[in-house]
């Protein structure tokens, strides 16, 4: 048996399941804890039934400096010693394992429901559990002048459902606890059980604003398991779609942040420009969010020369308009005064809890799958990683702005040199008994899909991790100490997905 880091596992490169170490629980714990101490990151950690009563726990680790991935596993009965007290980034994964597999991570310091559903990956011989969907033990601050504010699940605007419980003293928030799960649709079970052509539609619906990101991760996992090799042209078109998605959302978020501090000009101009990006995605794919474009084997729609030059023209027009509109906002002292120092995320908490994407980069943690674990077009065309250091609302806005500009430059570059080739190749049956990890830098951050096949080449387990899974904890961390009236602004600066978290 080889070590967890000797498997040759990389982003989108599958390995035989038999090569993944199967260790005793103690050794498994030691492997993971030592790896995390040595600079590896826990990027996925989940359970799946093994035999009739046991659960196999699988930990996937990433070494960003070298682009290596590692994996190890163990088999447990109805409980196991929690990693969380020694490795904080495991805390949500273990709550998830407890809920999905109906087993108990003993010693977990904050073992509460995560999405509030009955176990859907319970070992088949175990008694099904009945789950109280409403019962949730909120943390409470007691004191004479302390009061509690409950918000949601139905919100004041057009927002996905979630429940926020604030413990406040006057205007000041002392503690925020976020209860999610309202959008839980059973996505992982659907991905494991539906036919391949339906599964891709489910993957595109994990988070409706990250159709391309999750679609690409899903296709990447399936293609690796099927040994299907996309053409450079398909890779370039996928990169174009992913950066258009990023551009649309970053511009939209900047506009929404302007709206939340009542700076209407930028809110309305940027809101419209977000739409221009979505419209370009619709020109390419027939849908404003890029649905239908990415399919295993490549892309379902090619970019004919006339469309390429139209797209370039529209993006150049956008570039000319975007710069002054964003500067209007980011050079305005009354806007800056409202963004600076609000909703700070400390860098050490980011490292400890494993935040990803814009949130991590805004507190000087330069994590970016495109750079650290390059795949597809990003192996050939590099986008510099954008960081800021303050970790506050302004830092997140600045990272978005820099990334939007770089995505635009990337798009114009790709559109001027699109490689030749077929847009789509055949993607056949999946190899049996394999493990693959597909990572993607979606616009919010790191998306991880892990797929395992059984001895017939059917999907045995499909694990999805949206960046929001990690980053909701960053919201809960950033709000205390701020006024409750700044919560909408803080929340908007993260703009996390409820659907992506809830699955």
């Amino acid at each position: 048996m080889s070590g967890f880091d000797e498997l040759g596992l990389r982003n989108r490169r599958s390995v035989p399941l038999g090569s993944v170490p199967l260790e005793h629980l103690e050794a498994f714990r030691e492997t993971v804890l030592r790896a995390v101490g040595d600079g590896w990151r826990l990027i996925s950690y989940f359970g799946m039934p093994e035999g009739s009563l046991d659960t196999r726990l699988m930990a996937i680790l990433a070494h960003d400096a070298t682009g290596a991935l590692g994996a190890t596993s163990t088999v447990v009965g109805d409980e196991f010693a929690s990693l969380t007290p020694d490795c904080a980034s495991a805390h949500l994964f273990e709550r998830e394992i407890a809920e999905q597999c109906g087993i108990v991570p003993r010693g977990h310091p904050w073992l509460k429901p995560l999405r509030r559903h009955p176990p859907d990956h319970l070992a088949p011989g175990r008694e099904p559990l009945v789950v109280d969907r409403e019962g949730y033990p909120f943390f409470r601050v007691k004191g004479e002048e302390v009061h509690e504010v409950a918000v949601g699940p139905v919100h004041a605007g057009v927002i996905e459902p979630g429940h926020f419980r604030f413990q406040t003293h006057g205007e000041e928030v002392l503690f925020l606890e976020i209860m999610l799960g309202y959008q839980h649709r059973g996505v992982e079970r659907l991905l494991e059980t539906e036919s391949a052509d339906r599964a891709v539609l489910v993957a595109e619906s994990i988070a409706g604003d990250t159709v391309v990101g999750h679609g690409a991760a899903h296709c990447g996992a399936i293609e690796a398991l099927a040994r299907s090799r996309k053409t450079p042209r398909a890779q370039a078109i996928r990169g174009i779609a992913l950066e258009l998605e990023r551009l649309a959302n970053h511009i939209g978020d900047l506009g929404a942040i302007a709206g939340d501090v009542a700076f209407q000009p930028a809110a309305s101009y940027l809101g419209r420009m977000r739409g221009e990006c979505l419209n370009l995605l619709m020109t390419i794919s027939g849908n404003r969010f890029g649905r239908g474009l990415l399919r295993p084997g490549g892309v379902a729609f090619d970019l004919p020369p006339a469309m390429v030059s139209e797209a370039r023209g529209r993006l150049e027009g956008l570039q000319a308009e975007l710069e002054p509109a964003a500067r209007l906002m980011l050079e305005n002292s009354s806007v800056l005064a409202r963004l600076e120092g609000i909703g700070g995320v400390p860098r050490e908490k980011c490292l400890e809890l494993g935040f990803v994407g814009v949130v991590a980069r805004a507190c000087d943690v330069p994590r970016d799958v495109r750079h650290d674990h390059p795949y597809g077009i990003y192996r050939f065309s590099h986008i510099p990683v954008a960081t800021a250091w303050a970790g506050d609302v302004l830092a997140r806005a600045l990272v978005r702005w820099v990334e939007a500009r770089r995505s635009l430059e990337f798009l114009l570059e790709q559109l001027s040199a699109l490689p030749a080739g077929a847009p789509r190749v055949v993607c056949g049956a999946l190899q049996p008994d394999e493990l693959v990890v597909a990572m993607e830098e979606g616009w919010r951050g790191e998306i991880v899909h892990v797929a395992l096949t059984d001895d017939r080449g059917e999907l045995r387990r499909y694990k999805v991790t949206d960046p929001s899974f990690h980053n909701w904890s960053a919201v809960a961390l950033a709000v205390p100490g701020n006024q409750i009236s700044d919560f909408p602004l803080c929340n908007k600066s993260f703009n996390l997905s409820y659907a992506g978290h809830d699955l």
């Binding site: 559903h117 059973g186 891709v200 595109e204 409706g208 309305s268 729609f301 409820y498």
Partner: protein, 268 residues
């Protein structure tokens, strides 16, 4: 300050001319699906199962359910005879569930509400959004309705912060087990008379999540839906068209007439 004014002037007016002007869509836009029954005389008995949604119910004659359509290119590609195609028609909201089902993909477009309801809030309906087991895509298009291009508020329609202020609810999502109580409570909190609008394939029949143990298959049968708006997600123009029809602000005549006043850059 001068910069503000200069950029404001440069931005100009970007609001769509809808409903006087017809919106324009790119060539690949997938609007209302159309079905040609003559291409498949056996009523799709053999192949309906190949379509990755509930779009085609086998017959004969086959039934096409636009409400179940996921507007995916795979739905058209699944038919070996090419009987399923997507048209550029963005109008497909109906007042009834059965209005979305036909032999050809034709939709019985929404009718105006009854005179009393329309008199009460026809000019300024206030809506409450309830997302219940969605992916967030339909909500994103509802939010887009508020931008300067679609500018929903120019028709007096607004999303409000409390069900107590609302004349109706807009439901998105397949209605997850964890949201069903909150959906019912929100509906109950809206004063009567009230309308219910189901937006998107999920709210209509479960969409891509249909069959999951964690969701119902859309808005539960005991909530009386007044407007069904298909799409995955529906284009903002599809939603706007449906809303204006149910409010009696568009009828067949007015949506087709008038000059095209939308420049390609600001087209939806």
């Amino acid at each position: 300050m001068l910069d503000l004014l200069r950029i404001r002037l440069k931005q100009g007016t970007r609001t769509s001319g809808f409903p006087v002007a017809e919106p324009e869509f790119p060539e690949r836009f997938r609007g209302r699906p159309e079905f040609d029954p003559t291409r498949c005389p056996d009523g799709c008995r053999d192949c309906a199962g190949l379509v990755p949604s509930g779009l085609v119910r086998p017959g004969p004659p086959a039934t096409v359910d636009v409400g179940a359509c996921l507007f995916s290119p795979d739905e058209a590609a699944a038919c070996p005879n090419g009987a399923v195609t997507f048209t550029p028609d963005y109008r497909m909201a109906s007042s009834t569930r059965s209005g979305l089902c036909s032999a050809t993909g034709e939709v019985e477009l929404a009718r105006a509400l009854d005179a009393r309801t329309r008199r009460l809030f026809g000019r300024s309906p206030r809506l409450r959004s309830v997302a219940a087991g969605s992916c967030g895509g339909c909500e994103a298009e509802l939010v887009a309705l508020g931008n300067v291009v679609f500018d929903l508020s120019r028709f007096g329609v607004q999303f409000v912060a409390s069900p107590r202020h609302a004349d109706g609810i807009v439901v998105t999502g397949a209605v997850s087990a964890n949201m069903s109580a909150a959906l019912q409570a929100t509906y109950d909190a809206v004063p009567d008379p009230r309308i219910v609008i189901a937006v998107g394939a999920c709210a209509i029949n479960g969409g891509p999540f249909r069959g999951s143990a964690e969701v119902g298959n859309g808005v539960p049968g005991d909530l009386p839906v007044d407007l069904w708006i298909p799409g995955c997600p529906p284009h903002p123009m599809t939603i706007l068209d449906g809303l204006l029809r149910v409010l009696g602000r568009i009828d067949e005549g007015s949506s087709r007439s008038g000059p095209r006043a939308i420049s390609p850059r600001s087209a939806p």
